[in-house]
Symmetry: C2
Subunit: 224 residues, 2 copies
Protein backbone atom coordinates (compact mmCIF):
# COMPACT_ATOMS: atom_id res chain seq x y z
CA UNK A 1 0.00 0.00 0.00
CA UNK A 2 1.73 3.14 -1.15
CA UNK A 3 -0.27 5.83 -2.80
CA UNK A 4 -3.75 4.58 -2.04
CA UNK A 5 -5.95 7.04 -0.16
CA UNK A 6 -6.41 6.54 3.55
CA UNK A 7 -9.18 7.45 5.99
CA UNK A 8 -8.49 8.27 9.61
CA UNK A 9 -10.89 8.82 12.47
CA UNK A 10 -9.61 12.02 14.05
CA UNK A 11 -11.14 12.92 17.39
CA UNK A 12 -8.87 15.82 18.11
CA UNK A 13 -7.35 13.93 21.02
CA UNK A 14 -3.72 13.00 21.50
CA UNK A 15 -3.81 9.45 20.16
CA UNK A 16 -5.57 10.17 16.87
CA UNK A 17 -3.35 13.24 16.37
CA UNK A 18 -0.27 11.03 16.75
CA UNK A 19 -1.86 8.55 14.33
CA UNK A 20 -2.34 11.32 11.78
CA UNK A 21 1.29 12.42 12.03
CA UNK A 22 2.44 8.78 11.90
CA UNK A 23 0.37 8.21 8.73
CA UNK A 24 1.87 11.33 7.15
CA UNK A 25 5.29 9.91 7.95
CA UNK A 26 4.56 6.35 6.78
CA UNK A 27 2.55 7.23 3.67
CA UNK A 28 3.97 10.52 2.41
CA UNK A 29 2.28 10.17 -1.00
CA UNK A 30 -1.16 9.07 0.11
CA UNK A 31 -4.13 11.38 0.35
CA UNK A 32 -5.27 11.32 3.96
CA UNK A 33 -8.98 11.87 4.52
CA UNK A 34 -9.67 12.79 8.13
CA UNK A 35 -13.10 12.41 9.66
CA UNK A 36 -14.38 13.72 12.98
CA UNK A 37 -17.65 12.84 14.62
CA UNK A 38 -19.83 15.49 16.18
CA UNK A 39 -21.99 13.44 18.53
CA UNK A 40 -23.21 16.22 20.75
CA UNK A 41 -20.27 15.69 23.08
CA UNK A 42 -19.78 18.05 25.96
CA UNK A 43 -16.14 18.47 24.92
CA UNK A 44 -17.15 19.39 21.40
CA UNK A 45 -14.34 21.90 21.25
CA UNK A 46 -12.17 18.90 20.30
CA UNK A 47 -13.66 19.05 16.79
CA UNK A 48 -12.28 22.55 16.25
CA UNK A 49 -8.88 21.24 17.26
CA UNK A 50 -9.29 18.25 14.94
CA UNK A 51 -9.83 20.68 12.06
CA UNK A 52 -6.66 22.60 12.98
CA UNK A 53 -4.68 19.37 13.28
CA UNK A 54 -5.85 18.16 9.88
CA UNK A 55 -4.86 21.42 8.25
CA UNK A 56 -1.50 21.58 10.02
CA UNK A 57 -0.66 18.01 8.99
CA UNK A 58 -1.60 18.60 5.36
CA UNK A 59 -4.52 16.17 5.27
CA UNK A 60 -6.25 16.01 1.90
CA UNK A 61 -9.63 16.64 3.52
CA UNK A 62 -11.34 16.93 6.88
CA UNK A 63 -15.02 16.18 7.18
CA UNK A 64 -17.30 16.35 10.18
CA UNK A 65 -20.07 13.80 10.48
CA UNK A 66 -22.89 14.64 12.82
CA UNK A 67 -24.35 11.74 14.82
CA UNK A 68 -26.64 13.09 17.48
CA UNK A 69 -26.32 10.58 20.29
CA UNK A 70 -27.71 12.95 22.91
CA UNK A 71 -30.98 10.98 22.88
CA UNK A 72 -28.93 8.10 24.30
CA UNK A 73 -29.09 9.93 27.57
CA UNK A 74 -27.76 9.23 31.03
CA UNK A 75 -24.20 9.57 29.80
CA UNK A 76 -22.02 12.42 31.01
CA UNK A 77 -20.27 12.82 27.65
CA UNK A 78 -23.51 13.79 25.94
CA UNK A 79 -25.96 14.53 28.73
CA UNK A 80 -25.21 17.99 30.06
CA UNK A 81 -27.24 17.35 33.21
CA UNK A 82 -24.91 14.57 34.38
CA UNK A 83 -21.61 15.58 35.91
CA UNK A 84 -18.32 14.18 34.64
CA UNK A 85 -16.87 11.84 37.27
CA UNK A 86 -13.48 12.78 38.70
CA UNK A 87 -10.75 10.20 38.08
CA UNK A 88 -10.77 9.36 41.77
CA UNK A 89 -14.34 8.02 41.42
CA UNK A 90 -13.11 4.99 39.42
CA UNK A 91 -16.27 5.09 37.37
CA UNK A 92 -14.87 5.28 33.85
CA UNK A 93 -17.52 2.98 32.44
CA UNK A 94 -20.18 5.65 32.88
CA UNK A 95 -18.38 7.84 30.38
CA UNK A 96 -19.05 5.35 27.57
CA UNK A 97 -21.89 5.97 25.11
CA UNK A 98 -23.10 2.43 24.32
CA UNK A 99 -21.41 1.10 21.18
CA UNK A 100 -19.91 4.50 20.52
CA UNK A 101 -16.82 3.11 18.84
CA UNK A 102 -18.86 0.74 16.72
CA UNK A 103 -20.98 3.66 15.52
CA UNK A 104 -17.99 5.93 14.91
CA UNK A 105 -15.91 3.38 13.06
CA UNK A 106 -18.89 2.28 10.97
CA UNK A 107 -19.66 5.90 10.13
CA UNK A 108 -16.03 6.35 9.13
CA UNK A 109 -16.25 3.24 6.97
CA UNK A 110 -19.40 4.61 5.35
CA UNK A 111 -17.65 7.87 4.57
CA UNK A 112 -14.61 5.96 3.32
CA UNK A 113 -16.87 3.91 1.06
CA UNK A 114 -18.18 7.07 -0.61
CA UNK A 115 -14.54 7.93 -1.40
CA UNK A 116 -13.64 4.36 -2.46
CA UNK A 117 -11.21 4.10 0.43
CA UNK A 118 -10.63 0.62 1.89
CA UNK A 119 -8.00 1.45 4.52
CA UNK A 120 -9.24 3.02 7.72
CA UNK A 121 -7.04 3.97 10.63
CA UNK A 122 -8.18 4.22 14.23
CA UNK A 123 -6.00 4.94 17.25
CA UNK A 124 -7.05 2.89 20.27
CA UNK A 125 -4.15 2.43 22.68
CA UNK A 126 -3.33 -0.26 25.17
CA UNK A 127 -4.49 1.78 28.16
CA UNK A 128 -8.02 1.78 26.73
CA UNK A 129 -8.48 -1.99 27.08
CA UNK A 130 -9.70 -2.23 30.63
CA UNK A 131 -12.43 0.35 30.56
CA UNK A 132 -13.38 0.05 26.92
CA UNK A 133 -13.99 -3.45 25.53
CA UNK A 134 -14.47 -1.93 22.08
CA UNK A 135 -10.80 -0.95 21.96
CA UNK A 136 -9.64 -4.57 21.72
CA UNK A 137 -8.41 -6.01 18.44
CA UNK A 138 -10.91 -8.90 18.57
CA UNK A 139 -13.67 -6.33 18.49
CA UNK A 140 -12.18 -4.70 15.40
CA UNK A 141 -11.84 -8.12 13.77
CA UNK A 142 -15.55 -8.78 14.34
CA UNK A 143 -16.45 -5.36 13.00
CA UNK A 144 -14.29 -5.91 9.91
CA UNK A 145 -16.29 -9.08 9.26
CA UNK A 146 -19.59 -7.23 9.67
CA UNK A 147 -18.39 -4.47 7.34
CA UNK A 148 -17.33 -6.97 4.70
CA UNK A 149 -20.67 -8.77 4.89
CA UNK A 150 -22.68 -5.57 5.06
CA UNK A 151 -21.11 -3.60 2.23
CA UNK A 152 -22.80 -3.03 -1.12
CA UNK A 153 -20.18 -5.29 -2.71
CA UNK A 154 -17.95 -8.02 -1.28
CA UNK A 155 -14.86 -5.95 -0.67
CA UNK A 156 -12.50 -6.05 2.28
CA UNK A 157 -12.44 -3.02 4.52
CA UNK A 158 -9.31 -2.92 6.63
CA UNK A 159 -9.51 -1.40 10.09
CA UNK A 160 -5.94 -0.59 11.01
CA UNK A 161 -5.11 -0.10 14.68
CA UNK A 162 -1.38 0.69 14.65
CA UNK A 163 -1.21 1.73 18.32
CA UNK A 164 -3.32 -1.00 19.88
CA UNK A 165 -0.33 -2.65 21.57
CA UNK A 166 1.27 0.62 22.63
CA UNK A 167 0.74 2.40 25.93
CA UNK A 168 -0.48 5.97 25.72
CA UNK A 169 2.87 7.16 27.04
CA UNK A 170 4.67 5.32 24.20
CA UNK A 171 2.37 6.96 21.66
CA UNK A 172 3.32 10.34 23.11
CA UNK A 173 7.00 9.41 22.77
CA UNK A 174 6.34 8.71 19.10
CA UNK A 175 4.23 11.84 18.69
CA UNK A 176 6.88 14.08 20.22
CA UNK A 177 9.45 12.61 17.83
CA UNK A 178 7.13 13.23 14.85
CA UNK A 179 6.44 16.81 15.92
CA UNK A 180 2.76 16.53 16.85
CA UNK A 181 1.62 19.99 18.01
CA UNK A 182 0.12 18.78 21.30
CA UNK A 183 -1.10 22.26 22.12
CA UNK A 184 -3.70 21.68 19.37
CA UNK A 185 -4.97 18.42 20.87
CA UNK A 186 -7.89 18.28 23.25
CA UNK A 187 -8.38 15.81 26.07
CA UNK A 188 -10.49 17.24 28.92
CA UNK A 189 -13.89 15.51 29.20
CA UNK A 190 -15.34 18.65 30.72
CA UNK A 191 -14.52 20.43 27.45
CA UNK A 192 -12.59 23.21 29.18
CA UNK A 193 -9.71 25.31 27.88
CA UNK A 194 -7.72 25.70 30.06
CA UNK A 195 -8.32 22.01 30.79
CA UNK A 196 -9.86 21.08 34.16
CA UNK A 197 -6.95 18.85 35.24
CA UNK A 198 -9.29 16.74 37.37
CA UNK A 199 -11.30 14.46 35.06
CA UNK A 200 -10.14 10.94 34.08
CA UNK A 201 -8.91 12.13 30.74
CA UNK A 202 -6.86 15.06 32.06
CA UNK A 203 -5.29 12.94 34.79
CA UNK A 204 -4.36 10.22 32.31
CA UNK A 205 -2.91 12.76 29.91
CA UNK A 206 -0.78 14.44 32.52
CA UNK A 207 0.44 11.03 33.69
CA UNK A 208 1.46 10.08 30.18
CA UNK A 209 3.48 13.27 29.63
CA UNK A 210 5.04 12.85 33.02
CA UNK A 211 6.06 9.28 32.14
CA UNK A 212 7.90 10.77 29.15
CA UNK A 213 9.65 13.34 31.27
CA UNK A 214 8.01 15.85 28.94
CA UNK A 215 5.97 18.92 29.65
CA UNK A 216 2.40 19.09 28.39
CA UNK A 217 2.10 22.37 26.44
CA UNK A 218 -1.54 22.75 27.52
CA UNK A 219 -2.60 25.01 30.34
CA UNK A 220 -4.69 23.58 33.19
CA UNK A 221 -6.92 25.02 35.87
CA UNK A 222 -5.29 22.67 38.35
CA UNK A 223 -2.79 19.85 38.01
CA UNK A 224 -3.74 17.13 40.51
Amino acid sequence: MNDVPIAVLLSGGMDSAACLWWLRDQHPHSDIHALSIDYGQRHRVEIDYAAQLAERCGAHSHRILRLDLSTLSGNPLTDHSVSVPAASDKRQATTVVPFRNLLFVTATAAYAETQRIADIYIAPVRDDFEAYRDCRREFYDALEAALRLGGAVDRAIRLHTPFIEKWKSEVITLGLRLGVPYELTHTCYAGRRPACGRCDACVERLGAFSANGADDPLTYETRS
Copy 2:
Protein backbone atom coordinates in the same frame (compact mmCIF):
# COMPACT_ATOMS: atom_id res chain seq x y z
CA MET B 1 -38.72 -14.90 26.86
CA ASN B 2 -42.06 -13.64 28.06
CA ASP B 3 -42.30 -10.35 29.80
CA VAL B 4 -38.86 -8.98 29.01
CA PRO B 5 -38.84 -5.63 27.23
CA ILE B 6 -38.21 -5.62 23.51
CA ALA B 7 -36.75 -3.05 21.13
CA VAL B 8 -37.84 -2.78 17.52
CA LEU B 9 -36.42 -0.72 14.70
CA LEU B 10 -39.51 0.89 13.19
CA SER B 11 -38.97 2.64 9.89
CA GLY B 12 -42.61 3.37 9.22
CA GLY B 13 -42.53 1.01 6.25
CA MET B 14 -44.68 -2.06 5.74
CA ASP B 15 -42.26 -4.70 6.97
CA SER B 16 -41.37 -3.10 10.30
CA ALA B 17 -45.05 -2.26 10.86
CA ALA B 18 -45.93 -5.92 10.39
CA CYS B 19 -43.08 -6.81 12.75
CA LEU B 20 -44.52 -4.47 15.39
CA TRP B 21 -47.98 -6.04 15.14
CA TRP B 22 -46.45 -9.52 15.15
CA LEU B 23 -44.48 -8.67 18.32
CA ARG B 24 -47.64 -7.34 19.97
CA ASP B 25 -49.30 -10.65 19.11
CA GLN B 26 -46.39 -12.88 20.19
CA HIS B 27 -45.42 -10.97 23.34
CA PRO B 28 -48.63 -9.46 24.67
CA HIS B 29 -47.11 -8.70 28.08
CA SER B 30 -43.77 -7.22 26.98
CA ASP B 31 -43.07 -3.53 26.82
CA ILE B 32 -42.22 -2.74 23.22
CA HIS B 33 -39.78 0.13 22.71
CA ALA B 34 -39.90 1.36 19.12
CA LEU B 35 -37.08 3.37 17.61
CA SER B 36 -37.00 5.28 14.34
CA ILE B 37 -33.97 6.79 12.69
CA ASP B 38 -34.08 10.26 11.21
CA TYR B 39 -31.12 10.18 8.82
CA GLY B 40 -32.07 13.12 6.66
CA GLN B 41 -33.96 10.84 4.31
CA ARG B 42 -35.92 12.40 1.49
CA HIS B 43 -38.92 10.31 2.51
CA ARG B 44 -38.73 11.57 6.07
CA VAL B 45 -42.49 11.60 6.28
CA GLU B 46 -42.15 7.91 7.15
CA ILE B 47 -41.10 8.91 10.66
CA ASP B 48 -44.43 10.64 11.27
CA TYR B 49 -46.14 7.44 10.21
CA ALA B 50 -43.85 5.40 12.46
CA ALA B 51 -45.01 7.51 15.41
CA GLN B 52 -48.64 6.90 14.49
CA LEU B 53 -48.04 3.18 14.10
CA ALA B 54 -46.31 2.95 17.49
CA GLU B 55 -49.19 4.72 19.18
CA ARG B 56 -51.85 2.68 17.40
CA CYS B 57 -50.13 -0.57 18.33
CA GLY B 58 -49.76 0.38 21.97
CA ALA B 59 -45.96 0.47 22.04
CA HIS B 60 -44.50 1.42 25.41
CA SER B 61 -42.39 4.14 23.83
CA HIS B 62 -41.34 5.56 20.49
CA ARG B 63 -38.06 7.41 20.19
CA ILE B 64 -36.49 9.11 17.22
CA LEU B 65 -32.73 9.01 16.87
CA ARG B 66 -31.17 11.55 14.56
CA LEU B 67 -28.19 10.36 12.51
CA ASP B 68 -27.35 12.95 9.90
CA LEU B 69 -25.99 10.90 7.03
CA SER B 70 -26.50 13.66 4.49
CA THR B 71 -22.76 14.33 4.49
CA LEU B 72 -22.43 10.85 2.97
CA SER B 73 -23.59 12.42 -0.25
CA GLY B 74 -24.19 11.11 -3.75
CA ASN B 75 -27.03 8.97 -2.53
CA PRO B 76 -30.57 9.72 -3.71
CA LEU B 77 -32.14 8.80 -0.36
CA THR B 78 -30.33 11.63 1.38
CA ASP B 79 -29.00 13.87 -1.39
CA HIS B 80 -31.85 16.00 -2.62
CA SER B 81 -29.93 16.96 -5.77
CA VAL B 82 -29.85 13.35 -7.02
CA SER B 83 -33.04 11.99 -8.56
CA VAL B 84 -34.59 8.75 -7.32
CA PRO B 85 -34.21 6.09 -10.03
CA ALA B 86 -37.41 4.62 -11.45
CA ALA B 87 -37.79 0.86 -10.90
CA SER B 88 -37.28 0.30 -14.62
CA ASP B 89 -33.71 1.62 -14.31
CA LYS B 90 -32.60 -1.51 -12.37
CA ARG B 91 -30.24 0.60 -10.31
CA GLN B 92 -31.37 -0.27 -6.79
CA ALA B 93 -27.84 -0.31 -5.43
CA THR B 94 -27.55 3.47 -5.77
CA THR B 95 -30.32 3.89 -3.18
CA VAL B 96 -28.10 2.38 -0.46
CA VAL B 97 -26.36 4.64 2.06
CA PRO B 98 -23.10 2.74 2.79
CA PHE B 99 -23.50 0.53 5.87
CA ARG B 100 -26.86 2.12 6.59
CA ASN B 101 -28.26 -1.00 8.21
CA LEU B 102 -25.14 -1.50 10.30
CA LEU B 103 -25.46 2.05 11.59
CA PHE B 104 -29.18 1.80 12.23
CA VAL B 105 -29.07 -1.54 13.99
CA THR B 106 -26.09 -0.47 16.09
CA ALA B 107 -27.86 2.75 17.02
CA THR B 108 -30.89 0.69 18.00
CA ALA B 109 -28.66 -1.58 20.08
CA ALA B 110 -27.16 1.49 21.76
CA TYR B 111 -30.61 2.79 22.61
CA ALA B 112 -31.65 -0.68 23.80
CA GLU B 113 -28.56 -0.80 26.01
CA THR B 114 -29.61 2.40 27.77
CA GLN B 115 -32.90 0.66 28.57
CA ARG B 116 -31.24 -2.67 29.53
CA ILE B 117 -32.94 -4.38 26.61
CA ALA B 118 -31.13 -7.35 25.05
CA ASP B 119 -33.68 -8.39 22.41
CA ILE B 120 -33.80 -6.31 19.28
CA TYR B 121 -36.13 -6.97 16.37
CA ILE B 122 -35.48 -5.93 12.79
CA ALA B 123 -37.62 -6.75 9.79
CA PRO B 124 -35.54 -7.53 6.72
CA VAL B 125 -37.44 -9.72 4.26
CA ARG B 126 -36.31 -12.25 1.69
CA ASP B 127 -36.82 -9.85 -1.23
CA ASP B 128 -34.13 -7.59 0.23
CA PHE B 129 -31.31 -10.13 -0.21
CA GLU B 130 -30.27 -9.43 -3.77
CA ALA B 131 -29.90 -5.69 -3.61
CA TYR B 132 -28.92 -5.38 0.03
CA ARG B 133 -26.17 -7.64 1.34
CA ASP B 134 -26.77 -6.28 4.82
CA CYS B 135 -30.16 -7.93 4.95
CA ARG B 136 -28.67 -11.43 5.10
CA ARG B 137 -28.62 -13.42 8.30
CA GLU B 138 -24.86 -13.95 8.12
CA PHE B 139 -24.45 -10.20 8.30
CA TYR B 140 -26.62 -10.03 11.43
CA ASP B 141 -24.62 -12.89 12.96
CA ALA B 142 -21.39 -10.94 12.41
CA LEU B 143 -22.93 -7.79 13.84
CA GLU B 144 -24.18 -9.71 16.90
CA ALA B 145 -20.58 -10.80 17.48
CA ALA B 146 -19.30 -7.22 17.15
CA LEU B 147 -22.00 -5.99 19.54
CA ARG B 148 -21.13 -8.64 22.10
CA LEU B 149 -17.43 -7.80 21.89
CA GLY B 150 -18.02 -4.05 21.81
CA GLY B 151 -20.46 -3.68 24.68
CA ALA B 152 -19.52 -2.22 28.06
CA VAL B 153 -20.01 -5.69 29.57
CA ASP B 154 -19.89 -9.17 28.04
CA ARG B 155 -23.61 -9.62 27.48
CA ALA B 156 -25.34 -11.16 24.50
CA ILE B 157 -27.41 -8.86 22.34
CA ARG B 158 -29.86 -10.79 20.21
CA LEU B 159 -30.73 -9.40 16.79
CA HIS B 160 -33.98 -11.12 15.86
CA THR B 161 -34.96 -11.21 12.20
CA PRO B 162 -38.30 -13.06 12.22
CA PHE B 163 -39.16 -12.29 8.57
CA ILE B 164 -35.79 -12.93 6.97
CA GLU B 165 -36.98 -16.09 5.22
CA LYS B 166 -40.34 -14.65 4.22
CA TRP B 167 -41.14 -12.88 0.97
CA LYS B 168 -42.56 -9.40 1.29
CA SER B 169 -45.89 -10.67 -0.03
CA GLU B 170 -46.00 -13.28 2.76
CA VAL B 171 -45.32 -10.61 5.35
CA ILE B 172 -48.26 -8.65 3.97
CA THR B 173 -50.43 -11.77 4.27
CA LEU B 174 -49.43 -11.95 7.92
CA GLY B 175 -49.89 -8.22 8.43
CA LEU B 176 -53.37 -8.23 6.93
CA ARG B 177 -54.32 -11.08 9.26
CA LEU B 178 -52.95 -9.17 12.27
CA GLY B 179 -54.79 -5.99 11.33
CA VAL B 180 -51.83 -3.77 10.42
CA PRO B 181 -53.23 -0.38 9.37
CA TYR B 182 -51.35 -0.24 6.05
CA GLU B 183 -52.74 3.23 5.32
CA LEU B 184 -50.36 4.42 8.08
CA THR B 185 -47.28 2.83 6.51
CA HIS B 186 -45.02 4.70 4.15
CA THR B 187 -43.06 3.23 1.26
CA CYS B 188 -42.46 5.76 -1.54
CA TYR B 189 -38.76 6.70 -1.84
CA ALA B 190 -39.75 10.06 -3.26
CA GLY B 191 -41.50 10.79 0.04
CA ARG B 192 -44.78 11.64 -1.62
CA ARG B 193 -48.30 11.30 -0.27
CA PRO B 194 -50.09 10.35 -2.46
CA ALA B 195 -47.24 7.97 -3.29
CA CYS B 196 -45.51 8.38 -6.66
CA GLY B 197 -46.26 4.83 -7.83
CA ARG B 198 -43.15 4.83 -10.01
CA CYS B 199 -40.10 4.36 -7.76
CA ASP B 200 -38.67 0.93 -6.89
CA ALA B 201 -40.32 0.92 -3.51
CA CYS B 202 -43.81 1.82 -4.75
CA VAL B 203 -43.64 -0.74 -7.56
CA GLU B 204 -42.52 -3.46 -5.17
CA ARG B 205 -45.25 -2.57 -2.70
CA LEU B 206 -47.99 -2.63 -5.29
CA GLY B 207 -46.69 -5.97 -6.56
CA ALA B 208 -46.80 -7.45 -3.07
CA PHE B 209 -50.39 -6.38 -2.46
CA SER B 210 -51.35 -7.63 -5.88
CA ALA B 211 -49.76 -11.03 -5.10
CA ASN B 212 -52.07 -11.18 -2.09
CA GLY B 213 -55.14 -10.35 -4.16
CA ALA B 214 -55.50 -7.43 -1.73
CA ASP B 215 -55.98 -3.76 -2.36
CA ASP B 216 -53.38 -1.32 -1.06
CA PRO B 217 -55.27 1.29 1.00
CA LEU B 218 -52.78 4.02 -0.06
CA THR B 219 -53.53 6.47 -2.81
CA TYR B 220 -51.03 6.84 -5.67
CA GLU B 221 -50.33 9.47 -8.30
CA THR B 222 -50.07 6.69 -10.86
CA ARG B 223 -50.08 2.91 -10.62
CA SER B 224 -47.62 1.57 -13.18
